[in-house]
């Protein structure tokens, strides 16, 4: 259970790092995977559940021969991902926020956002290099 508290971000991140290690990713990849999970969990807790401790975050790690699949699901209202501003656009470069999903996407091989009836589901995948 992840209550919507910021401390739980560190826990989710540490769990992701350890799972990535178990899945056989190297230390750089472990760091990138952990960071992606951090960013997406922060979003789930702040934007999704809006720090409402009654709302939870659901976290799923799946280690398979192909790599690692991670799903983070919150109980918020979701959002329209097609409206995500590009943090690299010159007008956005000096904005304080708006780099979380961008970074998570950069560090994973796949990142899909899906609005569920109650909440946002983010599904990320990282494939093993051979």
């Amino acid at each position: 259970m992840l209550e919507s508290r910021i401390e739980n971000v560190d826990r989710a991140e540490a769990a992701a790092e350890e799972v990535a290690r178990a899945a056989g990713f190297d230390v750089d990849e472990q760091h990138h995977i952990a960071m992606a999970v951090r960013e997406i969990t922060v979003n789930a807790i702040t934007h999704g559940n809006q720090l409402d401790a009654a709302k939870k975050v659901h976290l799923d790690f799946s280690i398979s021969p192909a790599g690692l699949i991670i799903e983070v699901r919150d109980e918020g209202r979701g959002f329209d991902a097609s409206k995500l501003p590009d943090p690299l656009a010159p007008d956005n470069l000096l904005r304080q926020s708006g780099r979380g999903i961008f970074l998570a996407r950069a560090f994973m091989d796949e990142l899909d956002l899906k609005n569920l009836r109650h909440g946002l589901e983010v599904r990320m995948a990282k494939r093993k290099r051979r």
């Binding site: 910021i6 960013e39 922060v42 943090p87 470069l93 000096l94 304080q96 926020s97 961008f102 970074l103």
Partner: protein
């Protein structure tokens, strides 16, 4: 898990940071430190990230805010000693093109405009 100390060399304030600049940890301290320096009239700030192990998007945002806050006061904020992780992060986010980044403290200090 964050350490922040400042020292003054040749009219430039060097902010040495160590640890993590992340949401809830280093981000707030970084903001406070920059505010204090600006309140004290220090406008030439060199942020030494050599001992920073980790920056997340919140920490990056705080660095950008520090940069724009200092610039708004007519000052300059530059970066010193990026670890590979931090360097990669600035590259990916194109913030590398925003900041003046140095590897050598002496030449970094010299690069600030004279008072």
């Amino acid at each position: 898990m964050i350490k922040m100390t400042s020292r003054r060399v040749d009219g430039v304030t060097i902010l040495d940071i160590g640890g993590r600049i992340t949401l809830g940890e280093g981000s707030t301290q970084l903001r406070d430190s920059i505010r204090q320096l600006l309140a004290a009239g220090e406008k030439r700030i060199l942020v030494n990230l050599g001992e920073v192990s980790y920056i997340d998007s919140s920490g990056l945002g705080e660095l950008v805010s520090a940069f724009t806050a200092v610039r708004a006061e007519g000052g300059e904020l530059k970066l010193l000693n990026l670890t590979r992780k931090v360097h990669d992060l600035l590259q990916i986010t194109k913030l590398y093109t925003v900041f003046d980044v140095h590897d050598d403290e002496t030449s970094a200090i010299a690069s600030f405009a004279a008072a």
